[in-house]
């Protein structure tokens, strides 16, 4: 029972008090606002709810929102890991600057990010003008959605993986190498298991952020029904018709789906941590 052991040595005064505070805090900040969404849909009949959330346009938007967020999170997991690696393992001029740049997508108002990305990737933009003649359309397509979500999701992976990598220490790799492991073996057997839980967390955060993202996506998506409409946009269209119940119905589906996915990712992370032998 590692659990009981830990609470005895905890800095916080008493497990009961700390847990009570946690539940209260989560309720105030998270659960109460979310329950409002559920209560507003409660006015709908089950059939109306089902019809709303399975309308072809709504399904297409779910596919886009979850699909694009997933792809963007995967891209970030890969390249974010490389960025974190470079920032932890090497020393070079301008490192502090690059380190600060990573946080920029966090700090930037999302609308600004969206407008900037659209300006760059539209057919007359800096990058768009070279891509479009080659048949790659980014702005106003689902690809544009992935680009925007990749942009805003990057810091999540870098910032979760970075501290773990920094803690890892070179000795581990040296030991592996002395014991005769190849570079590949060292990475797959030694480094990856250690950073995998953090990587999964980063992936989950980037994914969750991407699913709900509105501001940056709305400018670059083009908002074509059935093609490049994200689910949050459909929520706004419902509100525009004063259809509060319909809007919250979509929101509830997104909430439940996100929760289940995050829960599954948490389980995966827990499994990775045990396997990585860091069950602390």
């Amino acid at each position: 029972m590692s659990f009981a052991l830990r609470t005895r040595h905890s800095v916080l005064p008493g497990f009961g008090l700390a847990l009570g505070f946690t539940v209260l805090y989560l309720s105030l900040i998270v659960l109460i606002p979310l329950s409002a969404a559920f209560i507003r849909t409660a006015g709908m009949s089950w059939e109306a709810f089902w019809r709303t959330v399975t309308a072809p346009r709504v399904l297409a938007s779910f596919e886009l929102s979850f699909g694009a967020a997933f792809i963007a999170a995967l891209i970030n997991a890969f390249f974010g890991l490389i960025v974190a690696w470079v920032l932890v393992r090497y020393r070079f001029a301008g490192k502090k600057l690059i380190d600060a740049l990573v946080d920029l997508p966090f700090a930037l108002p999302t609308a600004v990010a969206g407008i900037a990305l659209t300006a760059v990737y539209s057919s007359k933009g800096w990058i768009g003008q070279y891509l479009e003649p080659n048949g790659v359309k980014v702005a106003f397509t689902p690809l544009g959605v992935v680009v925007a979500l990749t942009f805003i999701g990057l810091p999540f992976v870098v910032r979760t993986v970075q501290p773990v990598l920094a803690d890892l220490g070179r000795e581990l790799e040296e030991a592996a190498s002395v014991l005769g492991a190849t570079r590949r073996q060292t990475f797959v057997r030694v480094i990856l298991p250690a950073i995998l839980p953090a990587l999964i967390t980063g992936f989950a955060l980037a994914f969750a952020r991407g699913v709900g993202e509105y501001g940056s996506v709305i400018f670059i998506a083009g908002n074509m029904p059935m093609k490049s409409e994200i689910a949050p946009l459909l929520i706004v269209t419902k509100l525009e018709q004063y259809d509060y119940a319909g809007a919250t119905a979509i929101a509830v589906v997104m909430l439940v789906a996100s929760f289940l996915l995050l829960f599954a990712l948490n389980l995966l992370q827990w499994w990775a941590r045990r396997r990585g032998g860091q069950d602390s």
């Binding site: 309308a55 346009r57 106003f140 083009g222 908002n223 018709q241």
Partner: protein
């Protein structure tokens, strides 16, 4: 919905800053493209009110998408008056918020719309695609920019203007009108969420051959970005976009600002109010002001939403609600 918070915070800050020296305050919840109009009108009204009553009044503005503004007021923003882009959003105050009586539109002259606008085309200088009328918008190879009618009030006017033209052209044959509008939207590469967004897409991003736009917005684009870059093309037929205003009864009765709010809206109908509207590219209702600005506004054959569509409630339900005709354009394509 952070922009809503910002407008809240902005409104609160303004209240705090101005309440100290003003005798009374008035908040006008308006839509996106009226910023310039009300900046000038508010100054004029404050002066008028001061000479008439001796009171100093602090006038505050809140701007945003018309539908969003309507919802914000329903959700509790204490706007004394609303000046929105379509009667449907003011109706919502009666239907969903019980804030005003159902017959609000009869309370002021001209359907409670002191000024109007219409829908025109903005094209690139020299009009390279030779766009003259609605028919040119459905030709293949013409790229048309217009916002999403599901999220933008202005876009709904655009859509209805095209629909009204098609009905006239095809002698009220609805199937052919639907086909016409379907073809038009097949030429649209991007549906921005608001009218300003579409203007930016067309003018700054260089996308599209023609922007379907509010007349006042087209004039503003010309003024801001230069007449050497764009041209306004006026179609043969367009829609009379009535821009409604209303006192929010529940709010003014609670705040005791009814007299002021009613005077504010009435002043929009005065000589000066009408002149300010004309100067800011809104079509004035008053004959005198209309004559003065006759040169600015070309003559167009205008139809109203009541004539052709039987009013906003009907038009919204038939065309824009979920599963309506607009949705079917895109579902048919898939």
């Amino acid at each position: 919905m952070s922009s809503r918070y910002y407008s809240w915070i902005g409104a609160l800050a303004l209240v705090a800053a101005t309440a100290a020296q003003a005798d009374s305050t008035l908040l006008n919840a308006s839509y996106d493209t009226t910023r310039e109009l009300y900046r000038i009108f508010n100054t004029a009204f404050a002066k008028h009110w001061k000479t008439k009553t001796g009171e100093t009044v602090a006038l505050k503005q809140s701007h945003g998408g018309s539908g969003k503004q309507g919802r914000t007021v329903i959700d509790g923003l204490e706007a004394d008056v609303v000046t929105l882009a379509l009667a449907y959003d003011v109706n919502a105050l009666a239907e969903h918020g019980n804030l005003i009586p159902k017959d609000w539109q009869k309370r002021l002259g001209h359907n409670s719309s002191p000024y109007t606008s219409t829908i025109v085309f903005l094209v690139r200088k020299g009009n390279p695609k030779a766009i003259r009328d609605w028919d040119d918008l459905v030709k293949s190879g013409t790229s048309v920019v217009t916002p999403n009618p599901k999220t933008s009030g202005g876009a709904r006017w655009n859509y209805l203007a095209a629909w009204g033209y098609a009905l006239k052209k095809f002698g009220n044959d609805e199937a052919r009108a639907r086909d016409f509008v379907g073809k038009l939207y097949a030429n649209v590469p991007v549906l921005d969420s608001g009218a300003r967004g579409s203007t930016v897409t067309f003018t700054e991003r260089g996308i599209g051959d023609v922007l379907i736009s509010w007349e006042n917005e087209a004039f503003l684009a010309l003024k801001e970005l230069g007449p050497e870059k764009f041209e306004i093309i006026v179609p043969s037929i367009s829609i009379l976009a009535e821009l409604p205003v209303a006192v929010v009864d529940k709010v003014v009765d609670k705040r005791g600002t009814r007299k002021l709010a009613e005077a504010y809206l009435r002043y929009l109908y005065s000589d000066e109010g009408q002149d300010i509207a004309g100067r800011n590219y809104y079509r004035p209702r008053d004959a005198k002001a209309a004559a003065k600005y006759a040169k600015t506004f070309p003559k167009v054959d205008l139809f109203t939403i009541d004539e052709v569509f039987g009013g906003w409630q009907k038009a919204q339900k038939l065309h824009f609600d979920d599963g309506g005709l607009f949705d079917r354009i895109y579902q048919a394509k898939k």
